[in-house]
Symmetry: C2
Subunit: 354 residues, 2 copies
């Protein structure tokens, strides 16, 4: 059983993944080669190579579960970092806090075709994948053991994508609210108490006026390089309508968001020559009404969901680990300028055959 352990100094939770335990030799041995396309378990027609699907968007109405005919498919991770069965059993170990590693770990396969980068998918395909993510988050919220679901995406080996170059994202539901999200909740709450306004709404209006860090401005969303960007070409996508909860995005907004994703990822690919990247969603925690903690109460009025996109171009070294300070060698105004001026080809997506 994996274990969740709390750092007593700063309150950060760590997953001790006992079931995928690694010995020294595992770190020394050379990395595996990329898996050949004909063995990819995520491609259409190879459904029997994965666990049974949790959800699938089917374009072929006559098709059946765990068979071809889908356009997006959600499956349990074959190497889950948290286990779905069992009780949390929160307990102490002397001065330490610990609980069982209970949670959900799902993989959203974003295309039936063997394409690695979401940037190369058609907009409708991106929209379907985002829609399936919304459905899964709403479903996971019903499980009373969970407090949060983090959606994220790793593209490229450096960004942690593993050896299978097939576009997918992941969803991990956790029994505690992650520290990074808590810090944002505290920050936006403090601002709201002072001003009775949402920090992110204020930030958006200032950025739209200044324009220097804005990359794209659509009817529903702004893509910008944040003022205190930690990384070169770090980019956030923020909805214009104040909303704490991603799963309340309207169908029309989802169309817009899918187009924004396609645009932004294509520009990153063009400017930085297909860089590895991480992408993640920060949305409100589950059970907004029920917690007694102060910053929970007003979450709907002060928290504002957003997506963070981080190209992996620089190495994080001792100074960053030690301080929580980041050194960014590219001012966000310059990153934004490059991305605004990027030339992206309108050529049709290449469908590989295998």
């Amino acid at each position: 059983m994996p274990e969740l352990r709390k750092d007593p100094l700063i309150g950060r939770w760590v997953i001790i993944a006992t079931e995928r335990a690694k010995r020294p030799i595992d770190f020394i041995s050379p990395h595996h080669e990329q898996m050949p396309a004909e063995e990819c378990p995520f491609c259409e027609g190879r459904e029997s190579h994965t666990p049974k699907e949790i959800l699938a968007v089917r374009h072929n109405n006559g098709s059946t579960e765990n068979q071809p005919g889908w356009s997006v498919r959600v499956i349990p991770s074959i190497k889950p970092v948290l286990r779905i069965e069992g009780q949390l059993n929160r307990r102490g170990k002397g001065m330490y806090d610990v609980m069982n590693g209970i949670g959900a770990h799902e993989v959203i396969v974003e295309t039936p075709v063997h394409i690695a980068n979401m940037a190369d998918l058609p907009v409708e395909q991106i929209r379907s994948a985002l829609g399936a993510t919304m459905t899964r988050i709403s479903d996971l919220e019903k499980d009373p053991r969970f407090r949060y679901a983090l959606w994220f995406k790793n593209y490229g080996t450096i960004a942690g994508a593993g050896q299978i170059p097939h576009s997918r994202s992941q969803l991990i539901a956790t029994p505690v609210v992650p520290l990074r999200v808590k810090e944002e909740l505290v920050g936006t709450r403090r601002y709201f108490e002072d001003k009775e306004r949402c920090l992110t709404c204020d930030l958006l209006s200032q950025e739209q006026e200044a324009k220097a860090r804005v990359v794209l401005d659509s009817p529903g969303f702004v893509a910008l390089c944040p003022f205190a960007a930690r990384f070169p070409f770090e980019l956030w996508i923020i909805p214009k309508r104040h909303e704490s909860d991603f799963s309340k995005t309207s169908p029309k907004e989802l169309d817009d968001l899918a187009g924004m994703f396609k645009q932004v990822l294509s520009r990153l690919k063009s400017v930085l020559d297909d860089p590895p990247y991480n992408c993640l969603l920060h949305t409100a925690p589950f059970r907004k009404q029920h917690s007694k903690v102060g910053y929970w109460k007003t979450i709907e009025e002060d928290y504002h969901w957003h997506i963070e996109l981080i190209p992996r171009l620089t190495r994080v070294a001792g100074f960053e680990w030690g301080s929580g300070f980041y050194i960014n060698p590219t001012p966000p105004e310059e990153s934004a300028k490059y991305l605004r001026e990027a030339v992206i080809s309108a050529e049709p997506v290449v469908i590989p055959t295998h």
Copy 2:
């Protein structure tokens, strides 16, 4: 002028290093080769290839500044992330907080000989380097613009060491207390308010009793793998005597610490086949008496300095960036066991010639 910018959501400061600004092409171009030993600017005899020294420990009493005859040498960084001259000029930019990128950035060259890993230095050499670090921290504290000095070490390209394999560490003095240190100050303060005891002292006594995570136990220090270790083989060195400030370490404790460093680094090298690593010091901030912030007042009684050692074996991916949650595939009890049982050779250090 580099700029310090504060993230409005969680209060994290970022250094926007305008003077070493990188364009997209800089990230795409291939990395440089390792610099050949005969060009290493840190080797004895090549003092004219570096900026003038700030401090040197000289074994040859007849030798003069910026000439051979030293065993440890401290110089300003040739690519400083913060500038030493100027005023902070704290100011607002609309809703954002910004100040000039003022600070000190020094390099501690830990040996006159071209050796890459501190693990391969004689204990006396490590002691000299730690002593020089103490002297520099105490000196930087006199500058009223600075609030903190972070000592750290990057070994290996993956850990951010650059292209020169010559053992050295760095010291960056900053005008703000880094977020990671602040979080520790808040955590230890909260514990002290509740128990009137130091959290780290309690942790040490529990760990010494349990033994499972202890790697080494010397008269003055304990080396252990922390209960909620973020990374495989993460290791902390903690002084047994309660002390918030590293620069108050006694000469006898410094002997002990140097021996502990040699032991621990040699064991990591043996068990993990010479892994890249980061190492960093968390000590009390400067000007403990003068700040009005609550957690400052009792810093001397509740904060406890320590060293964190992080072998760079796993990749940090989207989930970790998004959540502040870490997934550690090696339980710290197992890491500690491997390190305790490591066989380290007692052979003399090889001095390379060039």
